[in-house]
Symmetry: C2
Subunit: 200 residues, 2 copies
DNA sequence: TGCCACTAACTATAGAGATAGGTAGTTTGT
DNA sequence: ACAAACTACCTATCTCTATAGTTAGTGGCA
């Protein structure tokens, strides 16, 4: 059910169309919670049906229209309630660690390639996270800027520091993943120097 | 599709009944890939249908029987192929980081409680991981011991070190999560010393 | 003999999520 | 005038996961 609250979180910064939401998602909230637009549109509909959002049809060009969603009071209440409720703990489900545990079954070349792929993915991801973190620190992040408009300047520091805190957590994770993959590469070099032997 | 390969991984150590698998899962592979038995039983059936496993009905007590699954050659082949294929990258989907980014909406008390809950969950999890890691290092881990029987003693070190490597990654993750939660608790103390003010 | 915890093996159902499409209007550049 | 890219909004389908049951035999002990 977190998708619903990720959407509420985003829409508290300003009203948006489904399209806006799906674009914003890939730039900001997605670092924290990813969703494709095939999930976003139906969920927005359901949230409107449940009274958490209200929509206004606004003209777009000559003939076109678009639907802009705004969070209702009930939506704000639901979001606050979720914020105050215990977090759901996610179960471990990460193919990389599963594979790592059985690396004796892999071709040395494949093992190396996979560890590199994993490291490179996280390196890229880390760069994105650090770039976004920087836009939070200097407050140039567009969604953040829109969000701060609703608040008194005395609150800004508090709000921004929570966002940075979230990114710091993600950055730590990414760094840990990269370090781990690099250790893995060294391990494969050490153990698979000669052609691998097969189990009996 | 990783469940299928997690099951294959486990069953390469020795043939097992569905019940064994679901028990073993919670003790070993589950640290790396969690699944409830309502997923395990149907998946084992499908794997048998697909020829990756073969089952033998063995008597149990006076009237009872049980079904023991063993990996077929096709199963070994499928497992090896999966091991050599690129890892699927999981999208970020972690409610804790989502919440952290919007902590200005939470009651200070609730924010503290959640961060503590998160930290305590990971602390517990870390203890379990470290305990399991220790049984790998001294080779007292039962599933590992059964697995090593299929291999020449010269291979043991290699196999064990990959398992330890996987656990090291999980341990790093757990430690990072705990450190992050503790930083969060300090942050909440710093920012929420006085009663929180509401957005305009 | 009766009870209880455990072993064994599921089923049913709903919701979440991934992948892959489709349709129609708008804006921009050539 | 036309194409290409972008905005807007979905739908369909399949698989994956979570939660909560069900049914039946086993082994021990009070």
């Amino acid at each position: 059910m977190s998708l619903r609250f990720a959407l509420l979180a985003l829409l508290t910064s300003r009203p948006m169309t489904g399209y806006d939401v799906s674009k914003q998602f890939s730039q900001s909230v997605a670092h924290v919670w990813h969703a494709p637009d095939s999930q976003i549109y139906p969920e927005l509909n359901r949230m409107e049906r449940d009274g958490l959002l209200e929509s206004a049809v606004v003209p777009w060009g000559k003939k076109g229209t678009k639907k802009e969603y705004a969070v209702t009071e009930a939506g704000v209440k639901a979001f606050r309630e979720w914020m105050d409720s215990p977090i759901e703990i996610r179960r471990q489900r990460e193919p990389a660690y599963l594979k790592a545990a059985y690396l004796e079954w892999a071709e040395p070349g494949a093992a190396r390639a996979e560890l590199k792929q994993f490291r490179d993915h996280w390196t890229e991801h880390l760069a994105m996270l650090e770039a976004t973190r920087a836009t939070l620190v200097d407050r140039s992040h567009p969604t953040l800027a829109r969000r701060l408009e609703h608040y008194d300047a005395s609150e800004w520091d508090r709000i921004v520091r929570y966002k940075i805190f979230a990114y710091d957590g993600l950055i730590d994770q990414a760094r840990a993943a990269i370090t781990w993959a690099e250790r893995g590469l060294l391990l494969v070099e050490e153990l698979e120097g000669s052609p691998s032997t097969e189990p009996a």
